[in-house]
């Protein structure tokens, strides 16, 4: 069976490349199938998880209603438990036995990298929104992956630059002691130094932690004006909570380097007021974002994070590309995705580069004081729009071979 399937796949691919052929004939088995692979119950389930599944479902429903495609669209979802091996196996199973065409969300870098590789081997597309590390579009990039909402390069650019410009020149880092934390610290420190600031030191805490008071005391003793939190999720939440308890804030200010609106929501504005953070999406930015987010809220009872909004945006863009390419063959769809600018509530004139990076504006947000927040989820002032060209790794610095072509 296998060689024959392979042969027919190659044949289908060859046919797909013929533009004059009737379109619906080249959608494999008449169905485009999306697999949402995410963390359904672990650390990242609030920022991706069930919300990612719902956002994908909304994108599919809206696409069918608006674009009236002549192919069927289906969706499956699974919990990857943030484990690379589970993700790779699930991706393989989906592609081989369930004919999944594209895999969405992929929160945590290790799972994204594992799935990207499997999907690329089997000529399927990975739509990465949840994971953030830059290797996805650099040393480990491939031609069947897009990276949508944010990355660890784009986050510190906005936050660190703005904070230094506002006079926060001396920095101290509290860093999660693993690859992600180290790279976030390094990226941020580079921006701080480039903007004229100084790094006084850093302390690395075991991951995951729960008591951060010792590390906060070290940060306090350093006398730095700004304490950069190069960690994520519950580690960030507990650091912020305890900084307030020990009277560190507001004397010294905190900069969350990877923070989602779900973190701010669970900490409350008392603990987070005044913090700067960078985000790819804020629900209350304009009429379009509000309209979509309210629909999402009606289903999930929470406002979307940038990952969940990104899931909708990328899935819709993918389906549009399938429709206009007239095939679900990965390379042809990727070409369409790169050709077509992204214009929706998530991004304006977004562009998918050869390395898979979707370049779009990022937003520097400052968390509101409790007195400034007028209604539920009214959490951010958008202080600055960071143009896509500044927010993401410049093509010249990219280490992705696809960019050099």
């Amino acid at each position: 069976m296998k060689p024959r399937t392979l042969a027919s796949a190659i044949a289908a691919a060859a046919l797909a490349a013929q533009p004059m052929l009737a379109q619906s004939a080249t959608i494999s088995d008449g169905v485009v199938k999306l697999g949402v692979l995410t963390d359904m119950s672990g650390t990242y389930s609030d920022l991706a998880g069930p919300g990612a599944v719902e956002a994908t479902r909304m994108a599919i429903e809206d696409f069918i209603a608006n674009e009236k495609p002549d192919f069927k669209i289906e969706m499956v979802s699974a919990d990857h438990q943030n484990k690379a091996d589970i993700s790779a196996n699930k991706a393989r199973e989906w592609i081989d036995t369930q004919k999944v065409d594209a895999i969405v969300d992929l929160v945590t870098t290790s799972t994204a990298l594992a799935v990207m590789k499997v999907a690329n081997e089997k000529n399927r597309i990975s739509l990465v929104t949840g994971a953030g590390s830059t290797p996805i579009t650099n040393e480990q990039c491939n031609d069947t992956t897009v990276h949508w909402a944010y990355d660890t390069y784009s986050l510190p650019v906005g936050t660190a630059k703005a904070v230094v410009q506002q006079g926060g020149k001396n920095w101290y880092f509290i860093t999660a002691d693993y690859a992600f934390g180290h790279s976030l610290e390094k990226n941020t420190a580079d921006v701080v130094k480039k903007s004229g600031g100084k790094v006084l030191g850093s302390v690395r805490h075991p991951f995951p932690g729960s008591d951060f008071s010792s590390f906060l005391l070290s940060a306090q003793a350093s006398g730095a004006q700004v304490i950069g939190l190069a960690n994520a999720g519950n580690d960030t939440i507990n650091s912020i909570k305890q900084a307030r308890e020990f009277g560190i804030t507001p004397k010294q200010s905190l900069a969350g380097l990877l923070m989602f609106i779900s973190d701010v929501h669970s900490l409350g504005l008392d603990a987070t007021a005044g913090m700067y953070l960078t985000t790819g999406f804020y629900w209350d930015r304009d009429d379009e974002t509000r309209a979509w987010s309210k629909r999402y809220f009606d289903k999930m009872k929470r406002m979307p994070t940038m990952v969940q909004a990104g899931d909708y945006s990328v899935v819709y863009h993918y389906l549009k590309a399938v429709k206009s390419a007239g095939t679900d063959e990965a390379k042809a769809v990727m070409a369409k995705m790169r050709e077509t600018p992204v214009n929706d509530f998530f991004a304006k004139n977004g562009q998918v580069r050869a390395d898979g990076r979707m370049v779009h504006d990022m937003y520097l947000a400052q968390v509101k004081k409790p007195s400034e927040s007028k209604y539920p989820w009214d959490y951010y002032h958008i202080r600055q729009v960071i143009p896509g060209a500044e927010a993401f790794i410049p093509p010249a610095e990219s280490t992705c071979p696809l960019m050099k072509k």
């Binding site: 805490h205 075991p206 008591d211 999720g233 909570k241 308890e245 020990f246 669970s266």
Partner: protein, 294 residues
Amino acid sequence: MDIFGIPIQALMGQLLIGLINGSFYAILSLGLAIIFGLLNIINFSHGALYMMGAFGAWIGLTYLGINYWVALVAVPVVVGIFGMIIERTMLKHLYRLDHLYGLLLTFGLALIIEGLFRYRFGISGESYPVPELLSGGFNLGFMFLPKYRAWVIAVSLVVCFGSWYIIERTKLGSYLRAGTENPQLLQAFGINVPLMITLTYGFGVALAAFAGVLAAPVFQVNPVMGSNLIIVVFAVVVIGGMGSIMGSIVTGLGLGLVEGLTRVFYPEASAVVIFVIMGIVLLLRPAGLFGRER
């Protein structure tokens, strides 16, 4: 003045923080020690019950308007009763079997309880405010000590040594200790041993929930807060000597201090230092520092 290149102020601050964490370790390991001493059950659901205590406080405040002080008494009682139901319906069937069965059952329970909370409340958890009376702090010169943390040290010392006194120095305590040695003989003297066992388990569980309420204003209240802590607490119990009451209290506080010092000199190792000590203690004194060989 510096000690090994660290200013003495910074060192004092870190030691004090170590003592605060040690207080949590002490209350939790005390509960485990009491349960192991009398029931011979390695209570792996202790972390989940601690988490239930913290969530109990949050639920009470958010939905029922119960303040911190009431929660500090009411939540341990409620969770303690929940524990007694577990003991009556499940654990009591396991006493004659190997330790391993109790461990597996309580571990399974912990996973189920955590899963349910995760399903209902999500993973990011909820924030519990510091009670009005204890907000703010003292400036000790070398550090800013939040009033709430000072309260944690004080109240846990009282609770720990109070429990120690009851068990080691009162008549009720003597029954408990007798039950540990020889339950059949104690029953022959007309003591209702099964009831005593149920109440003891309930008390151990209530201690876990008490620690949970104490922790609620300090840590983010989330479904996995217990599983992050429980392994360390087990190490504390092993180092102190399984079932030794005084051992668990002293070791809990002591290891908090050791951990605090590690965070000054080599923060990366602060998560493993307790396990290194556990390894050394097991090699040199397999029954633990305060345990007796049986």
